[in-house]
Assembly symmetry: C2
Homo-oligomer: 250 residues x 2
Amino acid sequence: MIKVVLLGSGNVAYHLAKAFEQTKDIDFVQQYRRNSKNDKLFNESIPKTNSLENLAKADIYIIAINDDQILEFSKKLKLREGLVVHTSGSVPMDTLKCKCHKGVFYPLQTFSMVQQIDYMNIPICLETEYVEDMPLLKHFAEAISKNIYEVNSNQREKLHIAAVFANNFSNYMFKIAKDICEENHCSFDILKPLIQETVNKIQDISPEEAQTGPAKRKDKKIIDKHLSQLSGDQKKIYKLISKSISKSYQ
Amino acid sequence: MIKVVLLGSGNVAYHLAKAFEQTKDIDFVQQYRRNSKNDKLFNESIPKTNSLENLAKADIYIIAINDDQILEFSKKLKLREGLVVHTSGSVPMDTLKCKCHKGVFYPLQTFSMVQQIDYMNIPICLETEYVEDMPLLKHFAEAISKNIYEVNSNQREKLHIAAVFANNFSNYMFKIAKDICEENHCSFDILKPLIQETVNKIQDISPEEAQTGPAKRKDKKIIDKHLSQLSGDQKKIYKLISKSISKSYQ
């Protein structure tokens, strides 16, 4: 069994803790968190501490805290043994300033407290400072997910940018669609099967092949008609994306 | 049984024909198409014609052709009886210039020949010129779908704009994400569970609530770092959407 200490109590830590509970290959020995605010969300049988001096001995220490706190936090870790990994998509591995071996364990998923997710399907991107640490980290990751990828810091940063488009920006397109529906007294539910099908499609064919719509067809009449009915950010976004789609299908 | 004549042989006609075959409430009496190019895709037992003079007698005539041909095509219809509907999201009902009763039967979905879809889940937006025609059109629609909405021409046009955001533009976000992956020798497959979860989320919570990412957090450091690694349209789109997200979470 791989012994792990989890450092953090936010979204990412919460779902990791849930995943640890579902496997017999991981011994979740301790949780560090600054304060007990979220303690009720975590299994009470797991020992908790708010002191970095009192960290238990473990094979892997997972830092699941805000990106911009990782550097300073890692400086405070006095560990001499064990592999210390962070869980961030956008923070390079060498931001970790502790003395022990370093790595990254980046679950590429959107997390919120309200949604239950199946960790087994979450892609986990791994990186280690030393090649010899990879088998341990991989073995650990495989206990909770079946999608494991070795990804270096540069690739991970690019993946994070890609994820902003794939998740944050596509969700914002849904948000604008919902706003337009509501402004016109239509239920957003009418669009949900379309959104589902948009995603189903790209399981089998590439987004290039799946593209449809007036911009792809270069249907200027419809595009202009739509633009005349939009204003503000909605109009700017419609214009820019349509132009870009038309360009890429030239 | 409601007798129907289908006019067209493209994507929309193809999936409608498939749906007609799966219900006993619809009598698919004839298909009109300009030429026999796509005949092999359609059930050969359905009588076909390429002459508008020879249209069979039916309760409903469904025009499933390109938006910009609907007006001229409808002028050529010499029907005196039956309800004539088009299937377009962006064409007003009164674009139909035939002498008989008019209506709209707009299946709000993205269609392609390669994907099989379950018509029962497709929302269908209905409109009729005369109130008394609505029960027939509704009864007909209910034979192939369980999501029926009455939507007027103005609402339908707005829904179509919303659908461009929800489908075309979100798909383009996936396309950009894939481009970034490939430029950096990462598999787009890494992002697919994230995309799936993005859509799962909005089945239960609104896109506003589901929004995450640097723009929502107003994380200027990450946004600038991402922008410094993008160029061209990718950069312009990242900038504009991030700005809009940040603004809407003020």
